[in-house]
């Protein structure tokens, strides 16, 4: 039984997330935590927009906030987002990792520590290799991992790096990812 889904993406991620996240209805039982590289810009406009197209509540993750089902959380720009063992968020302003802050690897690693086998990790389109190591760690902790198939990604570098390092068995086209997550969430 899965208790959380973590998703990492950069270039092309906005469009990809719109397609995936709008497919979940408001009874979806698992919280979703996302790192999207969007530079130093404010998340506000984007979070507001996502709320208009998603049935689930979309918000920016806050320090010490308890992670709840029925919610989609985004890492705030310029902070790393970590998950604590009591399923709350913490933020740091540590050095960039893979030239990124927030870093997907850092979220994924801490999520694997907190949720171990009850976690699903997803790497989508993106132009660097952030997330590959993190996905590998999720796998090592017994979690389920998947990627957007590189050939269907706007920018294949990120899922390709994840494929090489974490060797996920599940590689899906963008439009099939939400259905797979829904299957797993109710399994």
């Amino acid at each position: 039984m899965y208790k959380a889904i973590v998703i990492g993406t950069s270039y092309g991620g906005l469009e990809a997330l719109k397609i995936i996240l709008s497919k979940f209805d408001n009874t979806f039982p698992v919280p979703i935590v996302i790192v999207l590289h969007i530079g130093d810009h404010n998340n506000e406009t984007f979070v507001n927009y996502m709320n208009t197209i998603c049935s689930l509540e979309v918000k920016e993750a806050e320090s010490n906030e308890k992670i709840k089902a029925g919610t989609i959380y985004f890492a705030p720009p310029n902070y790393h987002l970590l998950i604590e063992s009591d399923f709350t968020f913490s933020l740091t302003t540590d050095q960039k990792h893979n030239f990124s802050r927030p870093s997907i690897d850092i979220l994924f690693e801490s999520a694997a520590w907190a949720y171990s086998k009850n976690l699903i990790g997803v790497v989508l389109t993106g132009a660097n290799s952030d997330g590959a190591m993190g996905l590998k760690i999720i796998k090592e902790f017994g979690g389920m991992i998947m990627i957007q198939s590189p050939c269907s990604a706007l920018s294949p570098a990120m899922p390709r790096a994840a494929l090489k390092i974490a060797k996920p068995e599940i590689k899906l086209k963008l439009e099939d990812i939400a259905d797979k997550l829904i299957d797993l969430a109710y399994s």
């Binding site: 320090s63 302003t93 540590d94 690693e109 801490s110 171990s116 993190g134 902790f141």
Partner: protein, 282 residues
Amino acid sequence: MAHSTYSESNSDLLNIEIQLLLQAIFLRYGYDFRNYSKAHIKRRVLHRLGTSMLSSVSQLQDRILRDREFFNEFLDDLSINVTEMFRDPEFYKSLREKIIPKLRTYAFFKIWHAGCSTGEEVYSLSILLKEEGLLDRCQVYATDFNRKVLGIAKDGVYQKSEIEQYEKNYLLSGGTCKLSDYYKSRYGSIIFDKELSNKIVFADHNLVTDTVFAEVNLVLCRNVLIYFEKGLQDKVIDLFYESLVPSGILCLGTKESIKFSRHENFFEIVDEKQKIFKKKIL
């Protein structure tokens, strides 16, 4: 990333060893990281393990207990020294527009910059005070628990490579001159004018283990509380509350808040977005 010695099968062991390590550091050296966010500490411990050819946290603990130099290096791992001049320019803009007029009403005032790290943000504050004609009327205490970064802050010498970003931040923050008016360039470094640091006392102070040391009109403590667990955050906000004069101002980091803290009702909001609060007169 995770050290190969530890995996899912012994992750409980790792958590126990980290807890013991933090206890050992507290008993031996007096630095208390026991109520820091655990995931952050774990990353730092694993990172140090990865670079030091040691195979377990217990071995790391053994070395830390016996080797002060090695401990000092580890202390650098645990303290966050990522900072920049006029970081979050909108915050400095708000400080200039909303708080400076209040400070101007005092003949003399004191500011506490807690967790000042290598000092870039303290010099930013000094520049702002100078441009507002208030530098001669104040005393700034800039504190950190890490003596190494305090030394850098005191010297006021920084790499020139970052200056472009700093110039940009300065202008966005509402600076009225040019940043280059305040420093001299030498061999790829920039050196801030001594006039800016004349009013600053740099001092060793640990928010977790030390107490109130002065009554101040303004406290700046940005991006420090995010590293603490809830209980410790409350304790440190207590400390700021005790340090502030009635109607004194507390400035936190953009993602930090007194919301849900014990002291939520003891402060009123001055700028919700920039996290500027005013101590209520009760």
